[in-house]
């Protein structure tokens, strides 16, 4: 049949049918692509590009390179053993003078402070005094102005400033930093918090995911098996909070959980406890409020999968002699797994990025990575750190997703 068609088509206008077909296919692909183009562009411009740009900030920092150009280039030849030579000191004097005149000393000092806490202040002090340093021995004069310049570590920092790329922010995000000789060492214990913070983030997310599964699964089962009229009513009760803003719900938990809040008042009124239980501004408050907010996200995919499971399977199992639990466990439960997996993955990934709930009902030791991203963006203005923490969180999430895909298979996920 095909041969005939080709011969016929080929005969009429000289173009083989295969080519014609290809053209049609091509046009169709192009048409489909044009249809999705707006979405692709949107995702690229509003999502991929900013995130990529942000992650770039985590390794790119040209503060020292642009604001102290002479010093950093003079240091590129420095072997890093003894103190640098006179030329580097002369370059430093020039750079400090210029920065003082252009009011950029604060920015430089801030950058230096990241790596050498306290040295920024000394640098500002030196910049203020540097006009008194005249030609001659710059080295001796600068060390006289401030002993900082006789120390090795500040010069290491400045030398590293010669490159616009730095590993500092990523290292700090996993509690490492550069030592005095430029080697990588562990952060001092009073600053080493980020490994704990990441572990805490994963721990809380895991806990909340487990809690939503335990609470959500029976409800989903009930909803899927009840007659439509009752289950619709119950469904509204599940979905209603889902439509309420997370901020409002978190604030409501504040009212419920506080020392003289509803829960404590009732418990004290019933003489179950004599003093208010500490339910808020700690881990309890954080997990309770997050579980409440995430519950529908876990429940709904499970519910929609359960709806598709025919009751005749369990009936068949029972009629073949399986006990009620055995039938549920061996026949019903495995069929809900795609929904369970989808719900748990959704909740877990959303939990990783939680910010407002821990901030409002958690204590300082319950803050997750996002809190620190916000802190570094808005309060500390250390955008490199914010980017590095964000990049690591994103990478960890993608890695988890990859592992999950290998283990469970994303194609098995079902939202309904």
């Amino acid at each position: 049949m095909a041969t005939v068609a080709v011969q016929v088509a080929g005969g009429s206008d000289g173009i083989p049918l295969r080519l014609k077909l290809q053209r049609v296919e091509h046009r169709r692909t192009l048409g489909a692509f044009t249809l999705v183009l707006p979405v692709v562009l949107f995702v690229l411009i509003a999502f991929v590009w900013p995130i990529g740009r942000m992650m770039f900030n985590a390794i790119h920092d040209d503060t020292l390179l642009t604001l102290m150009p002479r010093t950093t280039s003079a240091l590129s030849a420095w072997d890093g053993k003894d103190l640098p030579n006179e030329g580097a000191y002369a370059a430093l004097v020039e750079d400090l003078k210029q920065s003082w005149a252009q009011k950029t000393t604060g920015v430089i000092a801030k950058r230096i402070n990241y790596e050498l806490p306290g040295a920024g202040g000394q640098l500002t002090f030196s910049a203020r005094k540097v006009s008194t340093v005249s030609a001659g021995s710059y080295k001796a004069a600068l060390i006289e102005v401030n002993p900082l310049w006789g120390q090795h570590d500040i010069w290491s920092v400045l030398k590293r400033g010669h490159s616009a790329y730095t590993g500092y922010y990523l290292l700090r995000s996993i509690d490492y930093q550069y030592g005095a000789e430029g080697q990588i060492v562990a952060s001092p214990p009073q600053n080493a918090i980020f490994r704990d913070v990441f572990l805490r983030t994963f721990g809380i997310s895991l806990g909340v995911t487990a809690a939503t599964l335990l609470l959500g699964f029976p409800v989903a089962y009930l909803l899927a098996t009840l007659p439509a009229r009752t289950s619709n009513l119950l469904m509204i009760m599940v979905v209603l909070p889902f439509w309420t803003s997370a901020l409002v719900r978190t604030a409501a938990w504040g009212v419920l959980l506080q020392d003289h809040g509803v829960i404590n008042d009732v418990l004290i009124g019933l003489h179950i406890i004599s003093r208010p239980a500490e339910l808020i501004f700690n881990r309890v408050g954080t997990v309770v409020a997050m579980t409440h907010i995430q519950l529908p996200f876990t429940l709904l995919p499970i519910y929609s999968v359960m709806k598709t499971i025919s009751p005749s399977y369990v009936r068949a199992a029972r009629s073949l002699g399986a006990g009620p639990f055995y039938a549920f466990w061996k026949v019903y439960f495995p069929q809900t797994l795609p929904g369970v997996a989808a719900g748990c993955l959704l909740t877990f990934i959303l939990c990783l990025g939680y910010y407002i709930t821990p901030a409002l009902v958690g204590g300082p030791a319950d803050q997750m990575v996002s809190y620190f991203v916000a802190h570094y963006t808005n309060e500390d203005l250390n955008w490199g750190m914010a980017s590095a923490l964000g990049a690591i969180l994103l990478a960890a999430t993608l890695l988890l997703y990859y592992v999950y895909n290998k283990l469970v298979g994303v194609d098995r996920l079902k939202m309904g």
């Binding site: 306290g118 500002t124 080493a192 808020i280 300082p364 963006t377 203005l381």
Partner: protein, 345 residues
């Protein structure tokens, strides 16, 4: 940083094209002033912005921020400054230090810089009001706190305390509670041992502290009975509702009226700074807000009845902890890093 500046730059181009069309109609009679919102801004509106518009004919557009330097930095770096005057609090020195503010030419202002005392030494703004961080407590407490040491003594007064989630004045207070005389606080705090000592003292109450970030939040915590006492900024409502303790109240950091670098309405902004720094509006403000005027001439115009509630009366000043701004400029980064880490542990 560059990502913001580029996006903002792109927006600026669009903005410029738009403003080129509207500019002629608005030029010269418009000023965007940013303050902290809430009751404070309502009072500012009534006693500063409105009288200013009446006197000069310059319209004021108000905006609200919560002290985010990031926003200002993005504007200045991308040269798309849409704020003309910013009411900067204790973050003023940091903004100035980062080169985000215009340096004020006092001759052009026509105000006497000496009238502002120490506060007038700041290069990038005109001092507005002093507001202290004091301790409010529940009036029903069996023993009310008398000194900062009581705030750090959970045996004497059990219960949670609200503190500002900020290294200052908590580090200073910790040292004072630990027995350091107020005048030596910054001397001790500038040594590594002193910093350790402050954090050690803070450790003793760490489990009894609820940290707040917004002034209204602190008063809410106290009103709800979540805390028995809290550090907070003075306010008329709180003065009525709660007990006040002025020992080691942190003062010395007034709010500053500042001009972001690159403001398109520099002339008008100067006019506003001159007005806001003059005695009459500064004194008028105190009718509804217990903040102390920074202009010493204004003190004579203040209603004698509200005078005792102001932070800069001689009695309050005598026991106050004067914030050492140069100290915080020099050591702020380091102490803030450590404080953040300490909190997270």
């Amino acid at each position: 940083m560059t990502i913001y500046s580029r996006v903002a730059g792109a927006l600026a181009v669009t903005g410029l094209m738009a403003s080129a069309l509207i500019e002629p109609a608005l030029a010269g009679d418009q000023l965007t002033i940013v303050s902290w919102g809430a009751v404070y801004q309502q009072v500012l509106h009534k006693y500063v912005f409105e009288p200013f518009t009446r006197t000069t004919g310059i319209k004021v557009t108000e905006a609200v921020y919560s002290g985010e330097i990031a926003k200002l930095r993005a504007m200045v770096e991308s040269k798309t400054v849409s704020w003309d005057v910013v009411d900067a609090g204790s973050n003023a020195w940091m903004m100035c230090d980062q080169g985000l503010l215009e340096t004020i030419d006092w001759k052009k202002l026509g105000l006497d810089r000496a009238k502002f005392g120490d506060a007038g030494r700041f290069d990038c703004g005109v001092p507005g009001q002093f507001n202290s961080t004091i301790v409010y407590y529940d009036k029903k407490l069996p023993t009310s706190p008398k000194t900062i040491a009581d705030v750090f003594d959970t045996k004497k007064i059990p219960g949670k305390r609200g503190l500002w989630k900020n290294p200052y004045p908590n580090l200073e207070w910790a040292l004072i509670a630990d027995g350091v005389p107020i005048k030596d606080v910054y001397k001790v705090l500038s040594t590594p041992e002193g910093v350790d000592r402050a954090f050690k003292r803070l450790d003793t109450i760490k489990n009894d502290v609820i940290w707040w970030t917004a002034g209204a939040q602190s008063k809410q915590l106290l009103a709800d009975g979540q805390v028995v006492m809290t550090a907070s900024w003075t306010s008329k409502e709180a003065d009525k509702q709660f007990g006040t303790m002025w020992d080691a109240a942190q003062s010395g950091a007034p709010s500053y009226w500042t001009i972001p670098k690159g403001s398109p309405h520099l002339e008008e902004a100067y006019k506003f700074l001159a007005f806001a720094g003059s005695p009459q509006p500064q004194a008028d403000l105190t009718r509804e807000m217990p903040y102390g005027p920074a202009n010493k001439d204004a003190m004579a115009l203040v209603d004698p009845e509200v005078l005792p509630t102001l932070p800069n009366t001689p009695e309050h000043d005598a026991v106050a902890l004067h914030m050492d701004q140069p100290f915080w400029i020099e050591n702020g980064d380091e102490l803030r890093q450590r404080f953040t880490a300490w909190l997270a542990k």
